[in-house]
Structures are given as structure tokens and as C-alpha cells.
Amino acid sequence: MFELLTWQDWALAYFIVGVVVLLSTCVPLYLATRKAKPDTGGGFTAIFDAPIPADFLESVLAPLIGITLICSFWPYVIWLKIAQKWFTNPPIEEKPFSVSHDDLREHLSFEEIEAAERVSDPLGAVPDLPFGHLHGAWERLKGNPAPGDEVWTFSARWVNWSSKYLCSGYVIVNDGEIGAFWVTDRKSLDTDDDSKKDRF
């Protein structure tokens, strides 16, 4: 049977597989995009109804080149998918900051903290409240203290991606259990060269 096929038939079969790969690659992507941001227009038909876009390169030429490349080199696309699934390292997940018992420093009362954290300014550019402009965050930490709530200071090192910080602040401890905490100071431990980069 195969000996009856011409090279045109083989080329057509190759192209058809390319179209299948194209659809299996792009349709899920389109649906995911549409799900993330509900369409305000008419889906696929809106593409054809829309006026000719001003940016011809981005809206027409680039997709056409992409479609042509996928249909022509679909074995490479399949290889990329396999490599992505089987040979790619899992994404590095940011380790959220947390407070442990080793980080606890000093047990203080709410009143002691509020007296020590008063902020003043000769130009009156800060509210006359504990923690000044950060008073709201302190109020959120305090909340409604439960029986047995203690407030401790803490100091802990933290590595966020490639940046190192020394974090300090206050944490609620109840019956030895670490509860809510609030970082009031975060000092970079990076070198000068690192600090040139954009932080946060």
C-alpha cells in the first residue's frame, strides 16, 4: 500500500500531522487564556470581524510565522513537549518567611512595645501612634488578644530567591505555639553589588 503513495501524499500527511500538533498546542492555550480573562467579544469570530490591526507585525505576521513553523517542524515541537515534561527541573518555589522558636528573643507586654515604638517627627509628618505610619499593621497583629497570648520579639535570617535578609519584628506566642507575626524591619545582607539590583 505504501509503495502506491507519492511524495505529495507523504508531504500532505506530514502537514496534516503538523496541523494536529498545532491545534493540540494552541487550542488549550487559547482556552486557558480565555478562561483567565473572560472574552468580551465574540471569540474566534471576533478575530475575523475586527478591523485590520495597526500593528501588522505582532497581530498577523508573527502568528503566521508561528503556524508555518509548527506545521513544518512539528517533530521538534513534540520533542520540546517531551523534554518539558520529563527532563525539566521542577520550578524553584519561594520559601515563605516563618518564625521558629529559635528566632524568639524577648518577651514583652503590648504596653511596653507600644511605648517603645512611638515615632515622632519635628515636622509632624507621622501620626502620634505606636509604629507611626505602620500602626494599622500593628493593630492587625494585636487583634483581640486571646487568653494566654504573649508577644515576643524575633530576629531571623531569610533567603528569598538569591537575596538574603535579616528580618525582625513581633510574634504572638500562645502556650508555646508560634502564631501570627509581623516583620517590622528587613535588612538586606547582600553585598553592595547585589544591592544595585532592583529589590522586591
Partner: protein, 165 residues
Amino acid sequence: MTAQIAERLCYEGRDLSMCSQPLSDYFTLAGARPAFDTRSCTALWRGYIGTWEVRDGRLYLIGLSGTLKEGTEANLATVFPDFPERVFAHWYSEQLRVPQGKQLEYVHMGYASTYEEDLLIEIEKGVVVNIDIRQNGTSLEADAPEGYGIGAMTVFPRKQGADDV
């Protein structure tokens, strides 16, 4: 990441570009951040430009310009409703970097470009504790750009209702 537009700093009567973002620290410590439009300009991922002043040895935020996601303009009162003119930056304990002189090397990322010297202002709880100048070298190019600048950015037009969904 595109090179970023710097913050403004009024220091000893001069208007300078500052490659530090004390307001980012505030948002982190306060645990709240206004919904700035961070997608319209690749050189302004933070969505605002703050104007700062060192006065009598203290760091103040004296202005803010930006746009919120819903399209309204943001100013100092957007973040500090009770202090629309001047805010003491008591939350900040870091070094301010103010590049000066001719550009030595342009890096199209964050604030990574280098200049002939950096004015380094050490701040502790909003108060200036040390001032230093770091010499980074001398530019041999006569036409090297003077002062902080960014080489390129892309500005995306806001789409009607694009952020409403």
C-alpha cells in the same frame, strides 16, 4: 527586566535620580499596597514614581505620581490619606543609592547600570546616619550620557475595560 525609571530625590537643593525604593519597603511592612497599574510601562513595574527629600537629616516622601488599575491618578494621599503633603519614612533602614556622573556601563535591567560615582546615604529608621561617595571609575568616552537614564521602554496603551474583568 527592563531598566527601571528612578525615584526622585531632593537633596541639598538638587533634584536627583535615586535607585532605591523606600516605598516598596513600606508596602511590604504594612502588608498592603494600592493596586497600581504595573502593566502599562515596562520601565515602571512598580507603577509609581515617588519624590523624596532629605531635610534636616531625615528622609521624607513629599510626592507620588502613578496610575491605579482602574485608571485614576494616584498621589501621596492615595497611600497616606492623612498626610497628603509630607510623610516621614521612619520604616526605612537601608542605603539610598544616588548615581552621579557619566555612565560607565549600561545594563538594561533594574538599576544595574553603573555611573562614575554613587552617593550613598545610609538611613536608619528614617534618619540619615552616614553619607558616603563611592567612586566607580572614570568614563573615557566624551559623549557618555551624564546622569541616570534608561535606554528603552515599551509603553502599552490602556485598553477600555481591560482591567475590569
